[in-house]
Amino acid sequence: MTEQEQPKPAKPKIPRQKMREQDPLERAHNFYEVALGYDNDLALLESSRCLKCKKPYCMAGCPVEVDIPDFISMVKAGDVLGASWKLKEKNSLPRIAGRVCPQESQCESKCVLNKKGKGEPCAIGRLERYVADWAAEHAEGKMPELPKPTGLKVGVVGSGPAGLTLAGALIKKGVAVTVFEALHELGGVLVYGIPEFRLPKAIVRSEIDELRQLGVEFKTNWVVGRIETVDDLLEKRKFDAVFIGTGAGAPLFLRIPGENLNGVYSANEYLTRSNLMKAYMFPEWDTPVAKGRRVVVFGGGNVAMDSARTALRLGAEEVTIVYRRTMDELPARSEEVHHAIEEGVKFQLLTAPQEILGKETGWAVGVKCQKMELGEPDDSGRRRPVPVAGAYFDIECDTVIVAIGNAANPLVPSTTKNLETNKWGNIVADLETGKTSKDRVWAGGDIVTGAATVILAMGAGRKSALSMLQTFGI
């Protein structure tokens, strides 16, 4: 169809509304949130774009099946608080999901407005964020009615999005919940991994406080497998069931020479120092982190983007992402790649690190790299990067961040009897119910799927909660 043949729309089309953002040059040097969200007018305008489709494809793209057209039409009608309750029926952490979900590849990719060709889907994620923030600011203290306690109690290992979602779903059905967390702060990757400028800690804390007000009990500094095992929780503490949501917290390294030099970090360490331990406030806060001048990041996912953007904010003059494939294959959320580019992160694509070069003192001074090109597609359907013979070059740097993924932490599986794991060490669990090989034990989130997304972890928490409730006969 050519331009001319296309029927003219009856009324002028409203374009997808942009979110206000901090100026890239300014924000590259502070830790305040980058995206500032919609104001009431923008939200109203954006909500009016939704067609309230009879067959809402968007919902099929949402792993927790939020009633998208319903909540959007409530925004349109001015009932923002109602919209927030609608959201929370399915998503207990909407302020978080509204910020970090890969909406463009989930709900928004299925939106009918998108299908109509122009690629401008309704900004579902931005509306979700607006609604949940509005409710948090305006509806303080309003709690849903809780049913009578059932006398049942469930132990949750890990306070990431999977564990928190399960806790929320169970407490609302009168099941007592205790969450055990190894770190001193609750939230899992949401607080130690994802940086403040993308997901402010205060927001995670407010969502958790809501759960606490509902009666969820939290125990921090509590490493399951060391203080007590999962079997102890079931037998000694008499929990009726246990949910394992320990995440994918063991950093992978490339196993190339020089990886233990000073200045070489796993993304987890780098981000934990900066985020959880607030190294960007050093020396007001005690934990230091190497403030590199020239920083190289290995990897192309959200974790790599977060590391690179954190390095900029810590004062690096040059930050380079080294990735084996091309821009098209970057696994990170497109919005974050876009933000990184705006802020000045460089991309060295089709490049694989071979060795980290060091000096006598033990500090890294550079990375030896190999040029790659794309060959035939591999099992994942992506074209496989293959080395270009003899094409090596060095990048000078003082800090290297390895962001190539995480594996399962073996602590809980290795201390739990009869819990089946697969060859990568992930816990084997039914994806529909979260049931594991062990009686009364459910599992979900990254510990089952390997490193995935917040919303999938939440989906797993929700499914496990439903399955537990069914088992309990509630």
């Binding site: 500094n221 490493v223 950093p251 196993r255 987890n268 934990t272 020396p283 003192t361």
Partner: protein, 287 residues
């Protein structure tokens, strides 16, 4: 919050405190450590559990003042509380009846050596401990150690107490005398552990060392505590902290321990200018 029930200075810049931590006291086994944070903006630092009383629900920590956190802890008083105490962490020491076990402790390393020695002694081993320090005033916990050892040998670099010399010389002396040693456990400054391993390796005596890499989470999540053992990268917090001394790359460990020298000095200077904590003690004082 974890209350400090008792605290005393047991040497220059060395403190011992008994802290209320019932869950940890119940679960702790020799060789394990905790990670603590003194206050909200504090750093997470690892310390070995030097002793415990499961019934009273207390653990004992012994620490040397080297930087902000340990200096600050030096100013804390009974009644003060630590913000966080996470543990027990790390693999427990493998304890069984080996025969004759020699424990070598240097400086502050005597504290972490104590529960291991006690465990080995309780398991029926003949335990010989060799304790060393630069000078008499720096020796700690010698009486505690004597109680859990069959023989205790003490050496000081300057000869101010016990044998004049290094712990390695004393160890070599035992070997030369023909003492049959089935296992050696060495804890102390990295150069000391390296020197001990040199001696035991030559005599083919299996040796475990307890490593003290810089840590953040202590649960295997961050990889800060990387050490090379037998050419392989291991995580000190979950694979250790004890390792086969013959296989450890001590040079790498020393370099990694120096990684934050610059920032640590900045932090310490700032702390000295505006000390936090109780005013009854001067931070960094040696009284």
């Amino acid at each position: 919050m974890f209350e400090i029930l008792a605290k005393e200075r047991i040497g220059p810049g060395v403190n011992r405190a008994v802290i209320s931590a019932p869950d940890i006291a119940r679960a702790h086994k020799p060789g394990q450590f905790i990670i603590l944070r003194t206050q909200e903006n504090g750093e997470r630092i690892p310390l070995t559990v030097a002793d415990k009383d499961a019934e009273k629900g207390t653990i004992t920590l012994v620490w040397q003042e080297v930087g902000v956190t340990t200096y600050y802890m030096g100013t804390m008083c009974p009644g003060d509380k630590l913000q966080d105490l996470c543990g027990p962490l790390g693999k427990p020491t493998h304890i069984e009846k080996f025969g004759t076990v020699v424990g070598v402790g240097g400086g502050i390393g005597v504290a972490p050596l104590y529960p291991i020695t006690k465990g080995m002694h309780d398991a029926g081993n003949h335990v010989i401990t060799i304790l060393g320090a630069r000078t008499e005033g720096l020796l700690i916990m010698t009486d505690d150690m004597k109680k859990v050892s069959d023989e205790t040998l003490i050496a000081t670099d300057d000869g101010s107490f016990g044998i004049h010399g290094f712990v390695t010389q004393v160890l070599q002396g035992l070997i030369d005398k023909g003492t049959k040693i089935d296992l050696c456990a060495a804890i102390g400054p990295v150069p000391m552990m390296r020197a001990v391993v040199k001696v035991t390796k030559a005599a083919n005596i299996p040796t475990v060392v307890s490593l003290n890499p810089i840590m953040v989470d202590g649960t295997g999540m961050c990889g800060a505590c990387r050490v090379e053992v037998g050419g392989k990268t291991m995580f000190g917090c979950v694979d250790g902290p004890e390792f086969d001394g013959f296989e450890v790359d001590f040079d790498l460990l020393m370099k990694r321990l120096a990684m934050y020298k610059g920032p640590e000095l900045i932090a310490l200077n700032k702390f000295r200018e505006t000390p936090r904590g109780c005013e009854c003690e001067i931070p960094g004082g040696t009284s």
